[in-house]
Structure formats: C-alpha cells, structure tokens
Symmetry: D2
Subunit: 435 residues, 4 copies
Amino acid sequence: MIPRYARPEMTAIWSPETKFRIWFEIEAHACDAMAELGVIPKENAEAVWKAKDVEFDVARIDEIEAVTKHDVIAFLTHLGEIIGQDEARFVHQGMTSSDVLDTTFNVQLTRAADILIADMEALLAALKARAMEHKMTVRIGRSHGIHAEPVTMGLTFARFYAEMDRNLQRLRTARNEIATGAISGAVGTFANIDPRVEEHVCEKLGLAPEPISTQVIPRDRHAAFFAALGVVASSIENIATEIRHMQRTEVLEAEEFFSKGQKGSSAMPHKRNPVLTENLTGLARLVRSAVVPALENVALWHERDISHSSVERGIGPDATIHLDFALARLTGVIEKLVVYPDNMIANMNKFRGLVHSQRVLLALTQKGVSREDSYKFVQRNAMKVWEEGKDFMEELKADPEVRAALSEAEIEEKFDLAYHTKHVDTIFARVFGAS
Amino acid sequence: MIPRYARPEMTAIWSPETKFRIWFEIEAHACDAMAELGVIPKENAEAVWKAKDVEFDVARIDEIEAVTKHDVIAFLTHLGEIIGQDEARFVHQGMTSSDVLDTTFNVQLTRAADILIADMEALLAALKARAMEHKMTVRIGRSHGIHAEPVTMGLTFARFYAEMDRNLQRLRTARNEIATGAISGAVGTFANIDPRVEEHVCEKLGLAPEPISTQVIPRDRHAAFFAALGVVASSIENIATEIRHMQRTEVLEAEEFFSKGQKGSSAMPHKRNPVLTENLTGLARLVRSAVVPALENVALWHERDISHSSVERGIGPDATIHLDFALARLTGVIEKLVVYPDNMIANMNKFRGLVHSQRVLLALTQKGVSREDSYKFVQRNAMKVWEEGKDFMEELKADPEVRAALSEAEIEEKFDLAYHTKHVDTIFARVFGAS
Amino acid sequence: MIPRYARPEMTAIWSPETKFRIWFEIEAHACDAMAELGVIPKENAEAVWKAKDVEFDVARIDEIEAVTKHDVIAFLTHLGEIIGQDEARFVHQGMTSSDVLDTTFNVQLTRAADILIADMEALLAALKARAMEHKMTVRIGRSHGIHAEPVTMGLTFARFYAEMDRNLQRLRTARNEIATGAISGAVGTFANIDPRVEEHVCEKLGLAPEPISTQVIPRDRHAAFFAALGVVASSIENIATEIRHMQRTEVLEAEEFFSKGQKGSSAMPHKRNPVLTENLTGLARLVRSAVVPALENVALWHERDISHSSVERGIGPDATIHLDFALARLTGVIEKLVVYPDNMIANMNKFRGLVHSQRVLLALTQKGVSREDSYKFVQRNAMKVWEEGKDFMEELKADPEVRAALSEAEIEEKFDLAYHTKHVDTIFARVFGAS
Amino acid sequence: MIPRYARPEMTAIWSPETKFRIWFEIEAHACDAMAELGVIPKENAEAVWKAKDVEFDVARIDEIEAVTKHDVIAFLTHLGEIIGQDEARFVHQGMTSSDVLDTTFNVQLTRAADILIADMEALLAALKARAMEHKMTVRIGRSHGIHAEPVTMGLTFARFYAEMDRNLQRLRTARNEIATGAISGAVGTFANIDPRVEEHVCEKLGLAPEPISTQVIPRDRHAAFFAALGVVASSIENIATEIRHMQRTEVLEAEEFFSKGQKGSSAMPHKRNPVLTENLTGLARLVRSAVVPALENVALWHERDISHSSVERGIGPDATIHLDFALARLTGVIEKLVVYPDNMIANMNKFRGLVHSQRVLLALTQKGVSREDSYKFVQRNAMKVWEEGKDFMEELKADPEVRAALSEAEIEEKFDLAYHTKHVDTIFARVFGAS
C-alpha cells in the first residue's frame, strides 16, 4: 500500500485496531449465541462485553504473539487480561482461527465495498452535473483519433456516467458476493459448534452465513470481488485517457484544474500537465494487478491451504485503498475539469467544413445524382479544402454541378450542427431517466 | 482456438456462416424499421428477406473483400448479388460498420453465454447427484494437505455445487452485461439513423439497446464478461485440483473413469493418470488469460479506436469455446468419477485414531481436568501411537489418569464419526434447499 | 490463432506436417545413436531413414490415433507402415513420449525464435534508415502530452531502435533458453536409454541436451521465453502508440502510408485512420496474454503433470505467430511512414516561441538578474503571448528590463533550435556506433 | 509491501533516507562533473560534499514539499539549508527532476538485484548440499501424481538447483538491464547539460549511461526486470509445491523443520503443516502480480507521461522485498528440510514391485517373446498384485511361461534399483560440474 494514494477512512479498515475490534465482536457475539444455546454460562458471555469500549493494546498483542506464534491465541490472551482469564475461558470454544480470520476479512471487504459504493455515487453525481452543463457543447467526435462527426461534451460525460453506473451495480454485486461469514469449525462440519452460532454472529455483523464452508470461506467469492474492482479500475483508465487526450497541447479542449498557486505555470503557461489523470492511469494498472492473484487463489488444496493468505494481506488493503483514492481523485478531476468550448469549435473547424462531406454526399445521392458522380463532386471540392485551404461550403456553392442538385440553402443545411445533436435528449433520457 | 478442446455447437457460433447470418438479420430488421418509419420504401425492406434462407457464400464474400478491403461492404455487395443490387440499395443506410460488427459480437457472446449456462446447469446436476450419493461417505478433511477432522465426500461435492451455483449466477449476470446492441451511427449520435431502428433490431435479436454508445459498445461490458469467465475457470481448476489430489497413488480416494479398453492399464494397473483434470487445470489457465487483455481493452481513445478488435478475434472464440469444452469435460469427470469409500476409511485410520485427539482433549477439560494436564495426558498417548504404532483408543483406555476422568464408553464415544456428520443435513439443506 | 494475423513461414512451424517431420528426425537420430552404441542393429537404424523424404499422411495418423488414443504410438504405427513394421520395431526403444513431444516443442520454439530474430533485424534496419533520414528533423518533445522542448524525429526513431535492439538481445537470450532437448526416459533417469543418445539427437537438431530433465523439460525455460515475447510486444505497443499520437488530426506529424486506391480517402481526406498501429496495440495485448499462463505452467507436480500441455497448444503457436505478424507489420509501417516535417514546425510554433521561455529565464539569471525578477520578466511576456497571441521574441525585445540584461542578438540566440540538436550526433553515435 | 514478509536490508533500499542519499550523490557527482567542465565554480561543487555525512531530515523535507508541492525542489531546498543556499545555487543546474528520480530508481533496483543474487547463491548452496546428501536416496518418481519409476531425492534437489541456477543467470541479466542512469535533461537532448556529466555520475554510481533517454529511462528495461522476477517467483512456487506434496499426510517423504517448541505438535503429532511452503506459494503469486503492470508501463506517451510512477511506487519495493524474503525463507526450508528415506521406500513398495513391470515386459520381448504374449504374462501377474495383494516378484517367479523366458536371477535383476540410478553421476556432473 502506497501511503500517498491512501485516504484515512479506507485505510482505517485495514488497521490492526479495526481488525482486533472485529475479532472481538465475532467472539463476543459467538459467546452470546453459545450462552443462549446453553453451551456456555450466560455470565461468561456477558463478561466478554466488558471489553466493548476498551481499546485493544496492539503492542501488547504483538508481544504475546512473539511468544505464542499465533495471532488469534495472542488476542484471546490479551482479551483475558482485560476481562479476566477465568471469565474468558469459554471464548472461542469450538471455533477455529479461520472462523475469526475469514469472517473478519469479509467484514473488512464489505466495509471497503461500502466506501467504494459511496465513492462511486459521488463520481456519478459529478459526471451527471457536468453532463447536464455541457449537454449541448458541441465538439468533434473522433474515431481512431481522427475527426469523424460532431458529438457533444455532454454525451462524453453521459457515457462515462452510464459506464460508471454499471460499475456501481458491479460493486454492489461484489459487495454481496463477499458479505458472508463462517463459524463452522476446523473443516466446516460444525462438529464442535452449533450452526446457530454462525447465524447469530453473521446477523450481528451484517453478513449472510456462508452456506457451506470448509476451514475457509470459498475463494471464488474473493476472485469475483477483485475482478469487479479490476473492471472499475479499467473504466477509470478509460475516463483518464479521454481527459489526457483532451488536455494535450494540440487539442486543449479541457484541462485538469490548475490552481493559481501551483508553481511554474506562468512562465510556461502552456505547461499544465494532466498529472492527475496520468496518475489515475497508473493506479488503474495497480488495482488491476490484484485480479490474477485473486483468481489463482481459488484452487486451494482440500479443505484449505494457506497460500491465499499472503496474497490477501497484500491485495486486500492495496486494491481497496488505491481504488478508493482513485475514485475520489477522479471525482475531483471531473468536478473541477476546465472545459474549453471555443477550442472545441476551433478544432472541429480545422478542416473548414470537411467534417460535413458525408452529409453532402448523401444529399447528392438522395437528389438522384449517381453514387459515382456524387463522390466525384464531393471529392474535387474536398481536395481544394485539403490542399489549398479553401472553405468547403464556399467551394460547394461555387460548383455548378453540385448546385444543379442542391440549392444554397440546402448546402447550408448540411452544415447545421443541430442535425447531429437532435437525439441528445433521447440519449440523456436513456442514461439519466426522463427529466 | 485449439480444435481438440472445442465442441461443435459453441464453435458454430464463431463460424463465418453464423457471423454473416447475424449480419443479415441486423440489416434486414433495420430495413424493416426504416421502412416502418418511412425512411426507405417498404418493398426494399421486404426484398431483403429474400435472402432469409439463402446460405451466404463465404468464399465469394472473401473474394470481394480482397478487392474492397472492407468486410461489411463485401458482405453488402454479396447480399446485392442475391437480392438484386437495386433492391439492396437502402440496406445499411445511415449505419456504420461498427453497428453491425459490435451488435453481432454481442449476439455471439450472448449465445455463447447461453451455452455456458446450460453447461453449468448440467454440471450442477452431476454435482448434486454425486453429493446425494456420497452424502454420508466419510473421509478425512485436510488442511494444508494434512489430516484434520472427518468430513464426507458429499460435503465435498456439495461445496463444489455451491461454488458452481454462484458461478451460474455470475454467468447469468455476464450474459445480461453483454446482451446489448447498438445501431447509433458513426459516433453514436443517431445523426443519420433513428433510435427506433436500434430499438427494433435489438428487440428482434433479443438484446437491449445500448443506452449510450459511441462508434462502439462500451468495453467495460466485455471486460466484466471475460472476468466472469475467468472466475468460472478458476473454480474448474479448484475442482480439478481436488480430484487430482484424490487420485494420487498414495491417496487413491477417487479416480477419473478409466474404460476397460484404454491402453496400458493392466500391466501397470496403478498407472491411471488424472489426465482429464490435469487438462482442465491447463484449460483454466487458458481461459483466465483472456481476463487481462479484456481489461486492457476498456480504455479506447475517444469515440473508438480499433485496438480491441484483434484482441476480441482471439479471446471471443477462444475463451468461450475452451470454457464450454472444460465445463462439459468436468461434468463427465464428475458423473463418472470412481469413488473409493474403503480407501477413504483406510486413509483416515492411518494414524490409528489420532484424528480424534482434539475431542478427547476437550472432553478431559470438560470433566474438570486442567488444560495443562489434559494436554499432557493426550500427548503421551498420542506419542505412543506416533512413535510405536499403538492404537490411540486402546492406549487411552489403558491410561489410569485418563480413565479417572473418562469411562470406556465415554472414550469410545469420542471416536464416533457421527459426531462429525451430525450437521450434514443442515448444510445440505442450505446448499440444495429443504428436501 | 487468428489466421488474418499470421504469416505462412511461422504458421508452417506449427503445422502437423512439421511436427511429424521433427518427430521423425528425433526418432531416426535416436536410432542412429542406439545403433552406434550397439543397442539396436545398424540395419534397423538405417531402415528408418527410408522415410526421410516421405511426406507423412496426417489423415492416416489421425485415423490411427482415433483407435490408439495416443499420438506418438499412432505416428510410430504409421512410420512402420512406411518402413516396414519389422524394421521399425526398435524405433522409440527406451524412450518416453515426452522425450519426443518436449524436444519437438523446443525445436519449434527455437525455429520460431529464429524467425522473430530475423523480423527484429528487419525492423531495426527500417528504424535505422528512418532515424538517419530524419536525424535533424526538428519536432517538439512532449512530456505529459504537453509541449516541452525540441527534439528531432530522428531521435524518436533512434530510441525505438535502441529499445528494439535490446529486444533483439532478449530474443536471442530467449532462443538460447529454449534450445534444449531431452531424451531421458519416463522420469529423466536414463534408466532405459543411454545419455549419449540424447547428446547425439540434440546435436543433430541444433539443441543443447537439457542437463537434468524429469519426464519433461523444466518449464521455467518456457516461462522466460514467453516473458521475453511479452516485453517485445510491449515495445511494439510503445512505438504504435507514438505513431497513433502523431497521426491524430490535431497533430498530424506523421501518417501510416495510405495507398491511392484505398477507399474513402478523397471525400474525407482527413479521414486516414492509423488502423495498423491500433491493430498492433491489440496484438501486443494478445501476445502479452501468454505471459501469465506460461508463468503458471512452471509449478508442475513431481516429475510432471500434463496441465502445461493445453496451455502450450494455445500460446505456443498464438504468441509466436502473432508476434511475427506484428513485427512484420510494424516494419512496414516504419518503412512507409509518411512524415510531415512542416507540420512538426507548425505544431512547435503553436505558442509563438513560448517553448524557449526556460532558456530566456536561465539567461537572465546568468546575467545576474535575481531569480524572482527573471521569473517576473519572463512571466509577464509569456502571458501576453498566451492571452493576447503576441510573439514571444518580439515582446521580449520590447521589454526594457529584459533588454537591460540581454541584447537583441542574445535574445534571438535563445530561440536557436540548434541549441537543442547539438548533441544529436553524440546520441546517434551511442545508439548506432561511430559512423 | 507487507511488513511480515520483509527483511531489513532490502527494505532499507526503499527508505526515504536511502532515496535522499542517492539523490544527494547524483547531485554532488553532477556538480563535480560540471565543475570539471568549467560550467560551475569548483568551490560550489566542493561545497556540496559538506553534506556527505549529514543525515537528511526526512520530516523537514516533507515539510518543505507540503509547500512547494515538488519533492526534488524540497530536497534541494533542504540541501541548501545544510550547505548554504548560496553555495547550493548551482546544484541541479541543467537537470530535470526525472534525471534524479529515474537514475535513483535504477540504483535501487540494481542494489535490490544484488541482494536477490546473493539470496539466490545462498539458495543454490543449500540445494547443492542437500542434493549431495541425498544423491542416492531412492524415491519413486511420479508423473500425474501417480507412481512411475524410481528417481532419487538428490535428483529432485539437483533439478531445483539447475532451475535456480538459470534463475541466477536471469537475475544477473535483469540487473544489467536496469543498471543504467540518465542525466539528459527535459526531453533527453542534453540541451542544457553536457553528456559528460551523465557519464561521470553513472560511473560513480556503478551504472552505464543510458544510450538514449527521453525525459525518462525507457521502461522496457523495467518490464524485463520484473518479468525476470516473475520467473524466479514461479520457480519458487515449483519447489514449494514439491515440498507441500511430500509433506502431505499420505506421502510424508519430507517435512518442513518443526522446532520442538512449536505449539500444538504433540497432541496431534501428525499435524505439522507445510505453512512455509504454502506461504511461498502465495508470495510467488504476489511477486508475479508485478509483471503485467510492468509490461503495461512500457508504452508511455511521447517523451514521457507519469503513469508508470504510481505503479513503480508499488511494485518496486513490493516485488523486490517479497522476493528477497521468499528466497531467504526457501533457503531455510531447504537447509532444514527433514527427509524421510524410509517413507520413500515404503511408498515405493506400496504396489509390491509393480513399479518394475515395464522392465519385465521389456525383458520378455528381448528374450523373443512376442509383444502380445509378454504383455499378457505381465498383466496376469500384475493383476494378482493389484487385486489380491500378492508380491509381484514372487508371482513372476511362479509363472511357468515367464520362467520359460527368464531365470529367477534374471527376474530378480529386473527389481534392482541400481538400474535406475546408474546415470545419477552423469546427471550430477552435468548439473554441478565434474567433481
């Protein structure tokens, strides 16, 4: 995990303090359930809650672990120090360490998903606001990096909105994938613990009981979770790439916000670098790098091997923390993006109307001119624009054979941008719903 | 695509014949909608359907493409040869090649998903049948490859069932992700075509209209699709790995079915190799290899670049064909898997009862023996089993300090396998529903 | 393997005919060695060579395999049909199928590497020629897509040359990694075959004997091989990306060659798409997708499992065939790339000299003006250029405080492009050697 | 980076202190070179070295960076605080931040590679020692997890040695790939700095000058570096997998060393889990996860974009630190691995001699018995072993038709293990050199 790409709320999920707090809750709720079932005395279950508001001493737990070589035992020992070793003697009864560790990991991932979902909602709000703002801001659409036909900046924001809205759904699905817990014992048979304990603990933690676990919760869930994060990351790269293109010197249709105070801007006023979106491009690669190891983690041996553990110590915090940071950074970029509608028009007009050649061609054929002739007429005028820098509309108007088919007004109509934006409302209604 | 890992139905989806058939349907339905809207003459729309039952001549289309260097134009030319060039002159009007290509690709992926879903249902049926059959077939559960506590073979099948049932849901989600079409023109603005054409074509093809497209359907959908396939593949590897372990010489708790006629089996009767599940392990790697390029395909430049195309020409057929083959092969393996319950018992008894040491330990403490003493008593008897090959139960019965706390019957009860299987019904009900 | 991205020479390496030819050579050379060692009769070894110029009947071998379910046995049976079953009876003696299969795979990969090395040499020649041609063609260097300081087009070609020259070395290393053979029997112990047979066969096939094999040649070699291909592919993407940027409408510093006959160019003369380099970007992703499965193939169980096999049936041909195609395509793109030096100058001058602001700043401080003042002087003139479209040099000359430190000639000297190209010779000498 | 999988020496390479120390050295050596060239005053160059033994105040630098938003400027400001702002005024002249950052990153990677190389040498020593120790310790070789023919434990160690020896070579190559530096200015043209400065700095830091850089050192080098690490990681997984298999309950041919004090071992003496090698399996996945993003980093835009930076902040430390830890852990595992030769023999004899059936078959045919009859004779006796638990050798001796071809002594000879180990010396000489 790279601290400079981390935000405190998400980072806190992965702190030792949070982890021990969840461990405590699992153990305490399990004791409650066992007491309710008559397996352990009620007073012992109640005693555990004495630690409810105590901050666990991470250093002390580490100290004990250095001796016991076992993290859960170290925690339980420390818990005993707080609530009394005798009162603590039924804690964890019939459970296996993985019951605690796996359920905790899923609590952490679920909470992480909740933050990512909120991040995504904020990003969607930003994208929607900018889409509405620039709904009819015309710019040239580009295929292969080459001018094609006009679109609007609002459509660009709207398609990113639609993509991220799908990602919101993917995150919600991923959250549900991972929101399970297991308290099923050494090999998942509940031999030493009643399934109702699992049900109670899961309910209290906002999880569903894992229908069938072994020693561990099955890792296809985690694979699906990290794969979803990888798709979100790729969409971040998609938006970042668009902005990087828009900001390049020759295009300059938009810029990341550049505060007055930022060094170096005035002597080289053109030197405003899209460093945030470049950074997002890199972060996307980092988040995506969790996908393959998560897939490789699925095939554990028999009822469990521990190969997944070191992988998850890495990708669990890293992927969620960096994705949270990236979503928030992207939201800021979108909110503050400086859009240059004049440059958009200037870029579109770079070829003095050639962008409309297709419409003219179509109009000629519709007037009965043969395909071959239509093409020839358009071509010879297009070439004058291309090679001699003439204006396309003027040339067409001056071409007798074109004029034999099309009036001045008809020619002018082919250069009307409204032709291209007439369905923007329809598309917006599809994306944002009827207004 | 590797022919030996391909089945005809899935392969057919990716044939040129199928592709051209879908192209035709898109164009014909689009003509219908345009005629309905009064954009083109009804008779021209009707004329297109003359090719409804004609088999397109792939070689002829290739021949034309060699001249035009454009696949869609080549197809349209060939279509004109069939229905008459004049009748065909409105076909494809206002559309762009990507409208056809992208919608077709999604039709293919949707059909592929349908097959994969059916494959998965067959696999689930096989897993369920074997789970029921071996619900109470006891075998040793293993963590880290080391004997832990008893489970049943039915639980093993049941957890694979639960995992694959989640994968079924993932495949259904993936199918929906990809079941969209777009007929929106050069940059997605519907400048030259009415959105109602898209709606009609999509409805006819069983797709939803893509709410907002550019020149192409957004590739986050495809990334999510292939990521889902990657998760399924990893689960296949998971099951394959379990079987490979079960079949290894020293374990031999199950074997892939080996027909009498298969060469080489009788002189070395032990030499029955789990080649099908090894093959599935490799196929899982192959299918997974589609995930990263699919993620890399998301960030296209502006309204499209064509970098995704070559990738999808590879991973589209390869991932679906090999996954279809793998699912079918796995289903066969499961259906015919030869299970050896006697070997399971023999393996479990390898350590003459030591597997029950935890229960004895717990029983002693519950009888009031201190943790330290309980551990000492169990340990000294366990060591006799381990080092001298004694029988654990016999040793315990002969140990006066153990017997001071536990009667013979109580000791024997700790060796009762039913203790471990008592919740199998509960778990089965969770996985398969109440019976 | 996608046929449209395949060239015949590389594809031929992976044909059944080639495979069987290599199998034959291995068997025949092995017989020679065994005869020489007195293990089998010389006449039987000689008899094998009767098939030297015979084309093996692939359909017939498939037919036999359909019965025997074993490819090597099917081939040996067919070989017996050609040279006589009795003469053939010592063929393959003491060998295991993997001896033939693995050695053959490495022969194929080695030959593939030889083609890739030749491809790379052709690419290097093209890059060098264009570097020399445009050694002093000045264009603006860009960081973050934003104008920075001048470079030359020759430097761009030269850095791609240097990168691909490193890739040539990597390919050579990869070739050596994979140029080994093994004829060591069922578990690699040479129990049934003399190590000198392996030595003889390898020598004849241009391979080194694998120092220690199991049933298979160790797969770290293959992992390193495909990883090298992945690096080469990424460098192809690097060059492709540069060209795609250069060709975008607003930049237009270069274009992929567009033959007169190519459809659609004249009515929309600006619509020349960099489809070849976009395609190369996609092919790079495809080739790279072989890397992870190749890495996953390394950890085989004990003396071998067959999980690697299906993976290699895919990535072996696919990665080499597509990389060969990509290298050749890229070479063509480079050779024919249309470079627009005038546009390069026009782009550079977009900001009327602002690109030289850094040099002016430095010159002022070197004349004793404080950093703060220098910055202020440059800034106020830069702003006039940026906001009012003035010419930077003119403004500087008209600024009394600037002129107090710098003469007109000194100001002009700061705008001299030769300042930026003075070390091009040095760099070229480093890259291409002293001329 | 996961602290529990980190060792101090490697971690120190990635500390801020080390980074600033390298920055200082680059700047100081650059000043020396510039002074030597007469570009800056000698006394200023000398003054820089006043900071030679000063520990930089990381907190102070962070404090300055919080204001300047630029890490290199913050460092230079702090350096000025130490040596005097006036003396410091020529530091960094003509250089760009990337000159410092990229050269530093390569110094770090080079030092990391040196540690990895030393790690690998230690691992090789351990593997060689164990190979020599168990050169003739016979165990059964397994293909597909199924008993095949005998090998020796020494051969197993020897093949891991050979594989890791190749990895040592790969690490050395990777080190050379990355041991370059660049001091070439904003776009790599040396416009503002003499190439001899780069040469001097690189020489002092043990690097080669990058022949041609842009603003950055080309990232194909880094891709190749991390790809090499990925191959090493896969080989670690390979060895780890073998040990995990050997330790599984039913095999138990070896165990990770388990110290007397380790908890939980005595009550369940069989429950010794191969947690170190399982952990290594996971770490291999983690290290490998750096490969794909490193490949994706190669295609930077024009003379640089900064997308690679966030990726490298992650994978630079993570991959090297975890690989260092993994190599050291594996070395410990190998050195202390507890090998059980008796269990190896017991496992091999599981099928009472059936492992020799191939040799008997061959012997019969060599005595003139037809293939069909030979097979029939072997088969019927094999079946008695398989189904009735008889001893293979005894059955063969009692079979008249077998005895008609083979004497008792000849039969016994076929069961001689020395037959399988006769070439171990040859193989060892190939791997370790003549002794």
